[in-house]
């Protein structure tokens, strides 16, 4: 099964409530998948800095003094916010490449969850309620965000197998469904130089989109071509710096409901996820069409 939610705010006055609204939506979807949960928040509190969100299974050891060591290595200030097993490292946008290289040297076991100007991805094994509490998602503000709760079918229940998957700077992907050609596609993408951390099918979907965008496609084109190249069931929700996009495979058996008002655009695997949003009674509510790419951006 799996449950997906997404919220794109048009009304700026709702931005302080984004984390709280998205958490409520995701918790409602808990019975669609209790294995792991994750959330991507596009924050609005950046001052021209670049963010690396990283995860460690031993945060006490790995994150100790990491900001200072990283700053010394790349020769520019680095600030660090700690959230349970995750840390957000902020630095000058020009230093991202050297920072990632330095991070691999300094802390080989630390994993990068997301990169970008605004996005922060938090994901762990466990119920949505517990995962959201660990990272204090409720207190986070932002312009838009997406969330996922997983019922694992294709691969192991691990932090790295949880969604969202980063697909590039300020981009991420969540998936409901199962891809059936992920092994052959992974082999092809590996030959093209892509690297993989898990045996997960969605990671292949994410790598596929990243590969397409590295080779000249924009996100819309990459999603269009995914309809040709990916075999299996999928409802994808992709987060971008400016908004989010939705695409369903041509068979469209994985559910999806959208709602739109003057204040927001919301996505849920089921209508249940949307029922407590403000003004939902008068919202335009509809089911996205199969094999059709939808986008909302600021």
């Amino acid at each position: 099964m799996c449950g997906i939610v997404g919220l794109f705010l048009k009304d700026k006055s709702l931005e302080p409530q984004l984390g709280s609204m998205l958490t409520d939506m995701l918790v409602t979807m808990t019975d669609r998948g209790p294995d792991s949960a994750g959330i991507a928040i596009y924050g609005n509190d950046v001052d021209q800095n670049f963010k690396l969100t990283v995860q460690s299974d031993r945060p006490d050891e790995d994150f100790a003094n990491l900001d200072k060591e990283l700053a010394d290595a790349i020769g520019t200030p680095v600030s660090m916010r700690l959230k349970d097993t995750h840390a957000v490292l902020e630095m000058d946008a020009g230093k991202t490449k050297s920072a990632r290289a330095a991070l691999r040297e300094l802390r080989p076991s630390v994993r990068v969850m997301s990169v970008g100007d605004t996005v922060e991805i938090y994901k762990e094994v466990g119920l949505p309620k517990d995962v959201a509490e660990r990272f204090d998602v409720r207190s986070m503000s932002g312009s838009h965000g997406i969330g996922h709760t997983r019922m694992a079918t294709e691969s192991a229940i691990t932090t790295m197998g949880a969604h969202p998957f980063s697909t590039g700077s300020d981009q991420c992907l969540v998936h409901n469904g199962s891809l059936s050609n992920h092994n052959s596609l992974r082999r092809k993408l590996k030959r093209e130089g892509m690297t993989f951390e898990t045996e997960n099918d969605t990671e292949v979907g994410a790598a596929y989109l990243t590969y397409k965008m590295q080779n000249g496609s924009n996100l819309g084109e990459a999603l269009e071509s995914s309809l040709e190249d990916l075999d299996g069931f999928f409802t994808f929700l992709v987060g971008t710096k400016d908004g989010f996009g939705v695409v369903r495979d041509p068979i469209a058996c994985k559910p999806a409901v959208m709602a739109e008002t003057d204040q927001y655009v919301a996505f849920g695997s089921e209508y249940r996820a949307l029922v407590n949003l403000p003004g939902i009674e008068d919202a335009k509510v509809w089911e996205p069409e199969p094999a059709t790419v939808y986008f909302w951006s600021h």
Partner: protein
């Protein structure tokens, strides 16, 4: 009118209360408030009661219905009125995928649009959709009538048996072994009755009939009465 509030009453209690109303019940009018997209609301009803659901529902509302009238004042999630036996289910808004799947009898009215697989494997149910229906609708439909005032998506009636499909708008494509058929006076009569009962403002003459080309399955005219 009896009111069941799903904000304070468990789903099992709501359904058990409704299911215990049999043919001789005096409490015929029921209302469900705060459905909030819950699953399996008003399933397995077995008496001539009228249930109004005030809001949108999740999976499988009105499933296995017998004799009751279930009116959803909102939209319905996947599998609404699945395997209905008799009675009526009315949806004021849209219905998600596989509405009326495997239904044996009764009338399902969808005033908005239905998405994919509407009436899949229908076995005698009548379905009237005021709007459009999605792809793979009436796949392996065996008997009953599917009436669509709007358009139908891809592969309508794929691998169908003896169900009838009446579409007023465009059909994107027909499924395997489904073909356009002649509209005879008896079909006009069937359609007129269904449109009236579904409160649909349309003339039977505006519709095109589709059905099985009878090349895919082993049709024998001697068994025609069985459908």
């Amino acid at each position: 009118m009896q009111t069941l509030d799903m904000a304070t009453t468990e789903l099992r209690e709501v359904n058990a209360t409704l299911q215990s109303q049999k043919a001789d019940t005096n409490q015929r009018a029921w209302e469900i408030v705060n459905p909030k997209g819950s699953h399996a609301i008003a399933c397995g009803l077995d008496g001539p009661i009228e249930v109004t659901v005030r809001g949108s529902t999740g999976y499988y509302c009105g499933g296995m219905n017998k004799e009751a009238t279930v009116h959803i004042v909102g939209s319905a999630g996947p599998g609404v009125a699945e395997n209905m036996m008799s009675g009526t289910v009315i949806i004021d808004g849209d219905a998600s995928q596989y509405a009326g799947a495997t239904g044996h009898g009764g009338l399902l009215v969808i005033k908005g649009n239905a998405s994919s697989r509407c009436g899949i494997s229908m076995k005698g149910i009548d379905i009237v959709v005021h709007g459009n229906i999605g792809h793979m609708s009436a796949f392996m439909a065996q008997s009953g009538n599917l009436v669509v005032l709007g358009d139908a998506g891809d592969a309508l009636g794929d691998s169908c048996y003896e169900a009838r499909f009446f579409v007023r708008g465009k059909v994107k494509s027909l499924g395997a072994d489904c073909e356009e058929k002649e509209m005879r006076p008896e079909h006009i009569e069937i359609l007129k009755d269904l449109l009236e009962r579904a409160g649909a403002d349309a003339k039977p003459e505006e519709f095109t009939r589709y059905g099985s080309a009878r090349k895919l399955y082993n049709f024998n005219i001697d068994n025609a009465a069985a459908y």
